[in-house]
Structure formats: C-alpha cells, structure tokens
C-alpha cells in the first residue's frame, strides 16, 4: 500500500477521438496539486478515472492507498469530489442535501457546515434551482467540506464563476489547507487559481503529462532571457533551452533550467543580457506545452 494520497502509474484510456496515454503522477499526503491543461487536455477524464467513474484500459490508480476502481467505495469515504459539471437535485433544498449527506457520513461537522452557510451567504431553505452558478459551487463545496474528507478532488471548481465568487471559493480552499493532513487535487485551465493554492503542479496536454513538479521548482527553473548583440547561431548551447525567438539583434531565450551562472558563456560570446524575466505560471504552462508539442512533432 502506497503512502501517497493519489498515485497514477502508466494509466491509459482510449476513445475514438481522444486518448489518455501513460499518465503517471503522484500526490503526496498533505500536498496540493494543480492539474493544469487546456480544454480537452484530459483533466476531467483523469479525475473521473480517479473517482472510479471511468475504468482505465491500462495502468494502476491508487487513491488513499486503495486500488481504483476495485476498492473505490472504501476510498470514497475519505474523498470529497466536486466537478464543474456536477449538479445537485434541482427540486430539493440545500437543507435536504445537507441532511442527506449528514445521514451518510458520521463525521459530518454540523458546526462547520453552519459556518460555511454564513460565510458563503447560502440559505438552507432555498431550492437548488434558485441558486446562481457561484452559489451552486459553494453549496457543493459546503457539502464536501463539512464531511472533513482527507482528500479533495476538485475538477474545474472555479470555472464559470465571477471574480468575487472565485475569490471566496479559493479563500475557503486555502483555509482548508491549514489542516496539514489534507490533500487536494485541483484541476483548472486558470493558472492564476492554481498558482494561488498549489504546491505541486502537473501540466497535461492532449492526453499526456507534459511535466509534473513542485510549483517553486517550476518558478525557479523557468526564465525568459532577452539578450542583445548575439549573432544568429553564435550563442553557445544552453541546457534547458526550450525556445529562441529573434527580432533584429535581440534574441529571447526561454529556458527551463535557469541558474545564475549560466549567462557567463553568452556574455563571453559577445551577448549582452538585456532582461531576465521570471515567468508566470501561465507563461511557463504555455511555453512548456508548445515545447512538448514541437518535440513530439505535433
């Protein structure tokens, strides 16, 4: 039995027009991982395999030490899953949903549920069909968080939310993170959300993992360096060089292996470093995905 909260090992799933191929990553207990990818990258399929809703064609999946899908029922006792597509029963009230979930989970925290009701400004007697998109997501989160699960699996929970609702949801998740024992897998195509709460990031594109690492490592490794006065073809090779674009006598080099000493050979070759730009997660994501697509000849 593994000590990871989530472990994917060589997981594949084929559809007629899409394939998830050789997905492997690991989420440690107490860690928050952002699964970042463009629309149609395979984030939702990955999450659904994890929740036992879709059965993988090959590979192994473990959630909280239990094999998925075979042992999904026991695993799901400790897992809270919220997805962008998930809906509550439109004809029932939030109070009915709370009572339904409470009747299943003995660890339901009534006091915390009431705190969340106030914080999210939700009215239990309101029918679900009367809730806005933001309120609906908050209601789903309330039903999940009040169970105090050890693992949260959140599939694009902030998609379609206005900035205020997004802020409230992210703030609540950040509060949840104060509990060190809790793990979160959070998928989004919004890198800003992921950057705020994640401490590990996995990039996924066209059904394949592009890269998986700590957030800090990504931010520290990736730089966009503008150099001036370097004739084409005369710059010494640089480790981790993923892209060079030229505009006149300026060259913009993107590297994923940044180290302060790495500029010395360029300067010796006559180049003058104009700017060293610390890349945002979105820039890293785009550069990484495009680089991997180029490498695969796509």
């Amino acid at each position: 039995m593994s000590n990871a909260a989530i472990e994917f090992n060589g997981v594949s799933k084929r559809y007629p027009f899409f394939a998830l191929e050789d997905i492997s990553f690991r989420l440690e207990k107490g860690q928050i991982m952002g699964l970042v990818g463009p629309n149609g990258a395979g984030k939702t399929t990955t999450m659904r395999i994890l929740m036992g809703l879709i059965r993988q064609d090959a590979g192994e999946v473990e959630m909280l030490g239990r094999a998925i899908p075979h042992d999904q029922v026991r695993a799901k006792w400790d897992v809270g899953f919220v997805s962008e597509e998930m809906r509550l029963f439109s004809g029932a009230t939030l109070a009915w949903h709370m009572s339904f979930v409470r009747s299943i989970y003995p660890d339901w925290d009534e006091r915390y549920a009431n705190t969340l009701l106030k914080r999210f400004f939700l009215r239990p007697e309101q029918k679900i069909k009367g809730l806005s998109r933001g309120e609906h997501v908050k209601a789903l989160l309330l039903l999940v968080l009040a169970r105090r699960p050890r693992l949260l699996v959140l599939d694009e929970p902030t998609a379609g939310l206005d900035p205020v609702a997004r802020h409230e949801v992210i703030a609540e998740l950040m509060e949840v993170l104060l509990d060190d024992g809790r793990s979160i897998l959070f998928s989004s195509h919004n890198t800003l959300d992921v950057e705020q709460i994640s401490d590990a990031i996995t990039f996924i594109d066209r059904g394949r993992i592009v890269e998986s690492d700590d957030k800090e490592s990504f931010v520290e490794r990736w730089r966009r360096i503008t150099v001036e006065g370097a004739p084409a073809g005369q710059l010494p090779p640089v480790p981790g060089n993923v892209d060079i674009t030229r505009s006149g006598h300026l060259a913009v080099i993107t590297t994923n292996a940044w180290q302060p000493g790495m500029l010395a050979p360029w300067e010796q070759a006559g180049a003058r470093v104009h700017e060293i730009h610390r890349m945002t997660l979105e820039e890293i994501f785009v550069a990484n995905v495009l680089h991997k697509r180029k490498e695969r000849g796509e």
Partner: protein, 227 residues
C-alpha cells in the same frame, strides 16, 4: 454492499417520486371508480372510459418513473453528485432499479389488491379477476422491460425505443387475449376460473419480469464507464 447507503439511495429516489406516486394512486382509484359505473347505458361507457383512464395512468406512471428516475439524473448531472458518495456504479444502478420497482409496485399493489378485495367484499361477479390480474401483471412486465432498456442504454433514444416497444406490445397483448375464450371469454362469469391458459400466461409474465429486473441490475454493473 453497504446496505445503509443503498437504503438511503433508494429512500432518496422514493422521496423524489412522492408526488408522482400520489398522483398515480389518485388517478388510478378515480378511473377504477368510473369503471365501476358499468351498467345502465347498455354500452358500458363507465367501464370503457374508466379502464381507458386506468391503462393510461399505469402506462404513463411507468414511463415517468423510468424516465424521470433513471434517465433524468444522468441528464441533469446530479448522477455525478451521487456517484461522488461511497457507492460503486453497480450499487448505484441497483439502487435506481430497486427504487423504481418499489415506486411502481406501490400503486400497482394497491390498485390490483384494491380491485380484488372490493370485488370480493361487494359480492360482485369475480369472473373478470383472472383477466384483470393477467392485465395488471402485463403492465408490470412492460414497466420492467422499459426499466431494463433505460437502465442498460441510459440514453434518450433507448428510452423512446423502449416506450414504443412496450406500448405496441400492450396493443398486441390486448388484441390476443381479447380473442382468447379461456381468458377474456370468462370475464363475465360469476366465479373466477384460474384456467391453465391464465396460469401459463402468468408464469410467462413473471419469468419476463424476473429476467428484465436481472438484466437491469446486471448489465449496467458490467459497464466500464458510467458517465
């Protein structure tokens, strides 16, 4: 299987069916009351109108239960919410089928039993009872077949095909048994006769019910992907 959650899932569905159950019961009783006014005009207008209403009620109720109970939950994505709870796809499907069966069987038993008891209690001729039981069991068959088709295909096209097949079968069924002297021919007799033809038909109906329910539970549990 976790019985506690299974029971809660069934109870949850029955809670959502509650208005449909009440309406089906009221409409069923109302149509049977109309059907009881069968004498006076020589053409049995009350009986014909009442039975037409009754058949419509039972068929519509069966369609509502299958469509609203099983298919709608998938279409409106509340299925994802339920599947996020500690249940497997197989348990989920079995709970849906059980809840739908219980929901249909409730009014079905009340109406079937009510007619039999009322006939016995009022001393009316009971020759029509076997025919009535065969008819009611056939409605149970059509419901179970439709339920199985919806549970297995989980698609609107499957559901519409199922509705067409079961409704057509009702017409064919009444056409065939209406011409059978052993079944419909004895409906006007004073005393009920459970002829071999009736018993054979009932046995075949029960077998079909069991087969449909078994397939409705087993085949969805074999599916690799539920969403």
């Amino acid at each position: 299987m976790n019985r506690s959650i299974f029971g809660r899932l069934v109870a949850k569905d029955l809670y959502f069916y509650r208005w449909m159950l009440a309406i089906a019961l009221i409409a069923g009783v109302f149509s049977l009351v109309i059907a009881s006014f069968s004498e006076g005009d020589g053409v049995r207008t009350g009986m014909n109108l009442g039975m037409l209403l009754f058949i419509t009620t039972i068929i519509t109720f069966g369609i509502f239960i299958s469509m609203a109970g099983i298919l709608k939950e998938k279409q409106d994505k509340s299925q994802l919410f339920v599947l996020s709870l500690p249940v497997s796809a197989a348990q989920y499907s079995a709970a849906k089928v059980c809840a739908a069966l219980i929901a249909f069987l409730g009014p079905w038993l009340v109406l079937t039993g009510g007619v039999i008891v009322a006939t016995a209690a009022t001393g009316r001729p009971s020759g029509g009872i076997p025919f009535f039981v065969v008819m009611m069991t056939f409605f149970l068959v059509t419901f179970c077949v439709l339920l199985a088709i919806v549970a297995i295909t989980m698609s609107e096209v499957g559901a519409i095909t199922g509705i067409l097949i079961t409704n057509l079968s009702v017409t064919l069924f009444f056409f065939s048994i209406g011409r059978s002297p052993d079944i419909a021919g004895r409906a006007d007799e004073a005393v009920a006769t459970w002829s071999p033809a009736i018993l054979t038909l009932l046995t075949a109906e029960i077998a079909l019910i069991l087969l449909s329910v078994a397939l409705a539970i087993y085949l969805p549990s074999r599916k690799r992907d539920i969403t």
